[in-house]
């Protein structure tokens, strides 16, 4: 297993995956800085709730696009170079699938961790009134990692399926729009439940009240829906098993 893991990283040389993540992180930082530049003193008092709430929406838009590019960077080299017929005489197909999934997952977790770090730095720089809560960190990880892993699996399968990577990338952009739209629907709406990109909004953990007269938003904690989390976990397990099975069964 270690050999296969090592070769995955050898293959990623010059793929500039780190640069891709940094570009998205930089864009996220600029977006957050722009939001914070408009913040009033009251909003900064409850800064973490405010920024977590905004970052959830930013991630809903950016992560599907990032994940499609990430999956494409990791998987299309096997298709473009016809390497499966060589690699699969030395490595089990299922193992190759696992390695691609693990590598992508590691990049994703690092990206989400970097975002949390970014929030912490913002908190310090803008002087948020309350400290960052562990509960928020945990919910943020659950919301972004689980849903993103399901999307990454889907993107991996598309990248392995199509030689032309425009199709998986288009699927990523489609996901971004669906995800964004899902925030405009109530939790009970089917739209949020049937599309996996809408599950970011289902697992949100900060609510807000908008007071029209004072034009002030107040934020409060919301328990993420357990049913939604269960659905995402079922999709993740099922998606992994189905994706792996299809990949192994596919003849080269």
């Amino acid at each position: 297993m270690l050999r296969e893991w090592k070769t995955e990283w050898m293959k990623l040389r010059r793929r500039k995956v780190g640069l891709l993540l940094l570009a998205f992180l930089g864009f996220t930082f600029v977006w957050c800085a722009w939001i914070l530049s408009d913040a009033g003193a009251e909003e900064l008092m409850d800064g973490y709730r405010w920024i977590f709430s905004n970052l959830s929406i930013i991630n809903t838009i950016l992560l599907p696009a990032l994940l499609s590019m990430l999956a494409s960077r990791l998987c299309d080299m096997e298709i473009k170079g016809n390497t499966l017929k060589l690699i699969c005489t030395m490595e089990k197909k299922g193992r190759l699938f696992d390695m691609k999934f693990l590598t992508g997952s590691l990049y994703l977790v690092l990206y989400i961790a970097a975002e949390l770090m970014l929030l912490f730095i913002c908190g310090r720089a803008y002087g948020f009134g309350e400290p960052m809560q562990l509960r928020h960190v945990l919910y943020f990880l659950i919301q972004n990692v689980t849903v993103s892993l399901v999307i990454y699996l889907l993107q991996m399968m598309l990248s392995f399926r199509f030689e032309n990577q425009i199709i998986p990338l288009a699927a990523g952009l489609f996901g971004s729009f669906i995800g964004l739209f899902s925030w405009f629907f109530p939790d009970t709406s089917l739209f949020r439940w049937i599309f996996v990109w809408g599950h970011y909004s289902l697992l949100h953990f900060i609510g807000n009240n908008w007071d029209e007269t004072t034009r002030i938003s107040t934020f409060y904690d919301v328990e993420p829906k357990q049913a939604a989390l269960c659905l995402v976990l079922v999709l993740l397990t099922g998606g992994y098993l189905a994706g792996r099975h299809l990949f192994v069964r596919k003849e080269i």
Binding site: K6, T7, K11, R14, G81, T83, K85, T89, K92, E251
Partner: protein, 304 residues
Amino acid sequence: MEYIVETKGLTKSYGGKQVVKNVDLKVPKECVYGFMGPNGAGKSTTLKMLLGLIRCTDGQAWIDGKEMNQKNRLEILRETGSLIESPSYYGHLTGRENLEIVRTLKKAPEKEVDQVLELVRMERQQDKKAREYSLGMKQRLGLAAALIGRPRLLILDEPTNGLDPAGIQEIRELICELPKRMGITVLVSSHLLSEMDQMADYVGIINHGQLIFQDKLEALHEHSKSKLLLRVMNRTAALKILEGRQIEGRVTEEGILIPGLSDDRAADLVSALAAGGAGLYRIEERQKSLEDIFLSLTGRRESL
């Protein structure tokens, strides 16, 4: 005789249509085995089944005496190198980096990368990105990758496809060297008969998914019975004389083609033709080319 590859009833069907039918391959050790057949005959499918890249619908395959199955496939293939259809490479990596990946997966010693680079004469281009290689270089890189791990069996599917004459010659020489120099058995497929004629010790011919011939190359050549071409001034008289001697003659553009005769009978016929006023001015012996033999075996002309 010991065989490094043996198959029994190897069959592959797609949607009820058999593309490989009951193939019984027998590849002797340390030789070059040419696997021939027209395009679409089932060569690549058979080789892919041997490598476990596609599942066989029926039949068994033994490599080096071990029956292949999904469990022991990788263990058996550790001593096998392959190059199937177009070369496989990571374009963003250098030639050397590509080989390092194969070396790591095959658990081969580090020095082997240098050895195979030298063998395929790629030392100078090893640090160039694979996508910048010419097709010939990519093919050589594929061959180098196949040679890592000191395989006992090399499976090459049309390795000279798309190469220029110099590249073809180079690959051909390399393939011929391998059994003698490194004790490697080479199972190589091609639809080019001239290529096989220069490389193979044994040949197998597949057509419409069926193995129609398998033996030494010499045995294939034995199928070529010589013919005699008679060039005469008067064809009618010549045909009459042939008919009188019960020799079947076929009129062609060049002359009259008759089956090969013993020296006595040939001398007798020449005298008769001269005496009978046929105006015999030339007699030539015609040997059937390997291509003719192949065509008579496969019975198709369209793809050669």
